[in-house]
């Protein structure tokens, strides 16, 4: 604790000396100067999901983005997937349960028999079996894990997707940087953004359906749409003569993003996908949503979150797993195959996780409860190595042997793998410096390519 305070205080002093604790003095720079490249990449431009000044991105920064266009698919299995029935089986042990372990494409590595498809392509991802986190409740744990469980500095941290939207901005595709495919309702979801502000929230596709008003209104033909937008731009352009251009650019930018999205209505049309693909991913919700995630990533979305619910198997764990895990296994394996086939895994990080694992001990309802002490996360792609297994749990699967990794370590690893530069590893919240990931954690070196 003491050392971290020192660190912060020192930093504070430096910031103050540089005069950075306050907004730049309005008298000393023009608005153009205030829009530094870093701000473009890091703040305003990133807001494409729900807002932002990113029209200014084109084309100066677009080139750089293209060269290094890392993307993320984040599969969230809400409630907690059992590591013992998936990534870290312990067959024939006290808590092992009835399922067997099967060999995988990685020599010597076994995973649960409920994941035969993933087993065949396991070399396209890595597993960290030594995850050890702090919270065993859903209500607090979900938020803590999704935010990387940073030190409490009195602010609400962003979820990973909002953080990536802020730190990396949209890709050159012009699509919103943070999309979320989920069951139930969709729309512009801002809660994930925390202190970063609503514009870093997610554009959510409820049950894979487009948000309100994405369909071109029936009264308007495509030609009319082009013509009216051109006229709108012409009026805006005339208005901005002799005035600040920022606002015009910002306004045009959101219309451009809207237009890009409207032109990609095909993303929401499942009939555009081959029957074969639909079978490979499965026709259940998680399958369809993972397939959609692949298509969103192909279309150029920076970060796609896919949500699945009902993994909280306190009762009848083994039947639940037998029903649920295959729903994850098929589409996850298909996703890895497809991304690999398209050569995209060098740039796309795929993560699958929950808020915690499940207890080795089987309760009286034949269920497993919450277990943050020792569980597993799958991750690989972009700058994160594939085909590795990091860490191990003890024989019974109850605790981690050797080095434990908290979610803070995972956040550091992901940000590093995505190429987030050292200087971007700190948010500036109105002068309050906030590390983007827990200050006491560090990346898992063995996983960094």
């Amino acid at each position: 604790m003491a050392s971290s305070i020192c660190r912060l205080t020192t930093k504070t002093t430096t910031l103050k000396q540089n005069g950075m604790t306050h907004a730049p003095h309005p008298l000393c720079s023009t608005s153009e100067h205030q829009l530094s490249r870093r701000q473009l990449l890091g703040s305003a431009a990133a807001g494409a999901g729900t807002g932002g000044l990113g029209g200014l991105l084109q084309p100066a920064v677009a080139e750089e983005l293209k060269r290094d266009d890392k993307q993320v698919i984040f599969v969230w299995l809400d409630g907690g997937m059992s590591q013992l029935e998936s990534w870290d089986p312990k067959p024939n042990t006290q808590f092992g349960g009835p399922f067997r372990a099967i060999p995988t494409s990685l020599p010597g590595v076994h995973i649960g028999e409920l994941m035969p498809h993933t087993a065949k392509v396991l070399h396209h991802t890595s597993i960290v079996r030594s995850v050890h986190t702090q919270d065993n409740s859903h209500s607090a744990g979900v938020g803590r894990i999704n935010r990387g469980d940073p030190k409490n500095r009195g602010v609400v941290y962003p979820y990973l997707g909002s953080a990536v939207a802020k730190l990396m901005g949209p890709t050159a595709s012009g699509l919103p940087p943070y999309c979320w495919v989920k069951p139930y309702s969709g729309g512009f979801k801002t809660a994930d953004a925390g202190f970063l502000g609503a514009k870093y929230g997610a554009l959510a596709f409820g049950d894979g359906k487009p948000p309100n008003n994405l369909l071109l209104n029936k009264q308007i033909t495509a030609e009319e749409n082009t013509a009216r937008n051109e006229l709108r731009a012409a009026f805006s352009e005339r208005f901005s003569q002799g005035r600040s251009k920022d606002w015009t650019d910002a306004n045009s930018y959101v219309f451009d993003v809207a237009d890009t999205l409207m032109k990609r209505m095909d993303l929401f049309d499942e009939s555009k996908v081959s029957e074969q693909d639909r079978d490979r991913y499965g026709r259940h919700a998680l399958g369809r949503h993972m397939l959609m995630a692949r298509r969103l990533i192909e279309a150029g979305v920076r970060f796609v979150k896919v949500n699945s619910y009902h993994w909280d198997s306190h009762g009848d764990n083994f039947n639940a797993c037998q029903s649920l895990i295959p729903q994850f296994d098929r589409p996850f394996a298909a996703l890895l195959e497809d991304l690999n086939e398209r050569g995209m895994l060098d740039n796309v990080l795929v993560i699958a996780m929950s808020e915690f694992g499940r207890t080795p001990k089987i309760n009286s309802h034949v269920g497993r409860d919450h277990w943050p002490e020792a569980w597993s996360v799958a991750m690989g792609g972009a700058g994160i190595k594939r085909g590795h297994v990091i860490g191990r749990t003890n024989e019974l699967g109850t605790f981690v042997e050797d080095q434990e990794y908290d979610v803070g370590h995972l956040f550091h690893t992901w940000f590093r793998g995505l190429g987030v530069s050292e200087e971007m590893m700190e948010y500036d919240n109105d002068g309050q410096p906030l590390p983007v990931a827990h200050d006491d954690c560090f990346p898992i070196k063995e996983l960094l390519a």
Partner: protein, 560 residues
């Protein structure tokens, strides 16, 4: 300004300073501890001296503003706004909507020299003034946490009567359930005391908001420790106010109401960075701590009435002392927020970061406004009038040469608030009468449109609506929402119907006057005239395209 009043204030300031010096000399801690109190008193002193000085200068305050602002401008300055720009700007600010085509036309044709002054007076005494102010302050104070009819009535009647601003704040800080007119003021507390889901009551959030909104200080970090970067923001400032709000709860009534419990002992707190126990009684941040009286003798054990006023009401002390002319921070924050609303830029920014290391860009202007606002008994119309009469306010937003940002060398673009935007949309498209024949009885269609419009355009709950952040959902709303596009369909003498029979040239003038509140330039007229074909069949559709493009262009979305 009357002399005895001023002398009293001066005396009071000196007295308070002496009191604080006594406190300081007793303190064993770092001398920094009470720096803020000193700084504030110092400021108050300067403010008062300044007030004394300027009161000799006979110049009206708006001219003093101009002098102080112009002294700091280097480089080019925008000319005075053209009449059209002015009427749009001031009507948006004081009536909450753009002017109608007729209003603009007759203002442009008016030759009288004092027509701007006359317009300002007309708007200040007009029927829409109270609604516009209620809209502005509702968003500022509630930050889209939800609407309440009693609160709305409280704001509207207060602004209609031009109740002094500090009295209005006083009623918010100490709501009275017995006064039917004003009891809606409790909504400020009540909404914030409501629990969200399984979260406990957010007393800390309420404490923070009182500091932010009424004193311009965001003490959030000081909940757990002295602020790490802002020396002024000590944990005791937060905890002192927190100790008050910890004892406030929701009273179960059909209207917004609260109860308060007596504070019987000081609040104990520890910094997360230390282990030393500290205590504080109730206090207004940066003010003196209030004495907690000894609890009354043991009463006979009767079940107390939960709605009875507490034996010791710290809310009463807060309400009496926070929004007062002696509280320089209150005066300056009030002036700064009203200046921000009219100018699009705070003299102190961020608005809730008043502290000694964050000086105002124009300290003399801030002091002038704060002192004079207080001296004029917090007459809001007076303050609005002075700012609006200034050349600084009336400057054009357009210049031929680049001006230096932040110097007020030209008018800053301000995003229309969601409420202004919707009202202006109905005025521009001539649908106001049809959809909102009277404010008390909105049509179903209006209510539905308003809901969708606000969900696309208003800031998220709890997000201050301060900066321009255009959003994709706004673009999608304007591109595809039927309720929006239907405003453009010719019906019941709305804009598109009214102009459908006019000559192309007149169509264009009428569109510009109705939507942009000005006449087109030559090049704009050429651009627009190409849009209107002679061919009757496609004419209606082309007019709608023109109207749509103007409504969705950036010019319509900003106050410029």
């Amino acid at each position: 300004m009357n002399e005895p009043h001023k002398r009293d204030r001066l005396r009071l300031a000196v007295k308070r300073r002496q009191e604080c010096d006594v406190v300081l000399s007793c303190e064993q801690s770092l001398p920094r501890r009470n720096l803020v109190v000193r700084a504030l008193l110092c400021n108050l002193f300067i403010v008062l001296l300044l007030a004394a000085r300027v009161s000799h200068a006979a110049d009206p305050v708006h001219q003093q503003i101009d002098r102080l602002i112009e002294a700091k401008i280097t480089g080019p300055v925008a000319p005075r706004s053209p009449d059209a720009e002015f009427i749009r700007r001031v009507t948006l600010d004081l009536a909450g909507r753009i002017p109608t085509a007729d209003e603009t036309r007759s203002f442009l044709q008016d030759d009288s020299k004092d027509k701007r002054e006359a317009l300002i007076e007309r708007l200040l005494s007009g029927p829409e003034y109270a609604t516009a102010m209620a809209g502005l302050f509702n968003v500022m104070l509630m930050e889209r946490r939800g609407e309440n009819a009693d609160w709305d009535r409280f704001l509207k009647t207060s602004f209609a009567a031009n109740q002094p601003w500090n009295e209005l704040v006083r009623q918010i800080l100490l709501p009275s359930a017995d006064n039917e007119e004003s009891r809606g003021s409790a909504w400020f507390y009540k909404r914030r005391l409501e629990k969200s889901g399984q979260q406990p009551t957010d007393y800390a959030g309420l404490t923070r908001d009182v500091g932010r909104l009424f004193l311009g200080v965001d003490l959030q970090c000081a909940e757990c420790h002295d602020h790490l970067m802002i020396d002024d923001y000590k944990q005791q400032e937060f905890q002192g106010l927190f100790s008050v709000y910890k004892n406030v709860s929701i009273r179960n009534e059909k209207f917004p109401a609260i109860n308060e419990k007596s504070i019987t002992e000081k609040l104990e707190f520890i910094s997360v960075f230390g282990s030393e126990h500290q205590v504080t009684g109730p206090r207004i941040p940066f003010g003196a701590e209030f004495e907690i009286p000894p609890p009354p003798e043991e009463q006979p054990k009767k079940k107390p009435d939960p709605n009875a006023p507490p034996a010791f009401s710290s809310l009463k002390l807060i309400a009496a002392n926070l929004p007062s002319p002696e509280n320089s921070l209150f005066c300056r924050n009030s002036a700064n927020r009203i200046w921000f609303a009219l100018m699009g830029q705070g003299l102190v920014e961020p608005l809730d970061q008043f502290h000694s290391d964050n000086q105002a860009t124009h300290p003399e202007v801030l002091n002038l406004l704060a002192t004079e606002f207080a001296a004029h008994e917090f007459d809001l119309k007076w303050l609005l009038r002075q700012i609006i009469l200034s050349e600084t306010y009336q400057r054009s937003s357009r210049t031929s040469e680049e001006t230096i940002e932040g110097t007020y060398a030209r008018a800053r673009l301000r995003r229309l608030t969601a409420d202004q935007h919707l009202a202006s949309l109905l005025v521009a498209t001539g649908n106001l009468q049809r959809l909102l024949p009277s404010e008390s009885e909105p049509s179903e269609q209006y209510t539905e449109l308003q809901k969708e419009f606000l969900s696309a355009f208003a800031a998220e709950p709890k997000e201050p609506a301060l900066s321009y952040a255009p959003a994709v959902k706004q673009a999608l709303f304007q591109l595809n929402e039927s309720q929006f596009l239907n405003l453009l369909t010719p019906q019941e003498n709305n804009l598109t119907e009214r102009i459908s029979k006019l000559q192309p040239r007149d169509v264009i003038d009428e569109c510009f006057l109705s939507i942009f509140s000005r006449l087109p330039t030559v090049s704009e007229r050429e651009l627009a005239i190409d849009q209107i074909p002679d061919n009757e069949a496609s004419r209606a559709a082309r007019i709608q395209r023109l109207v749509w493009a103007m409504l969705t262009s950036i010019e319509f979305a900003v106050n410029h």
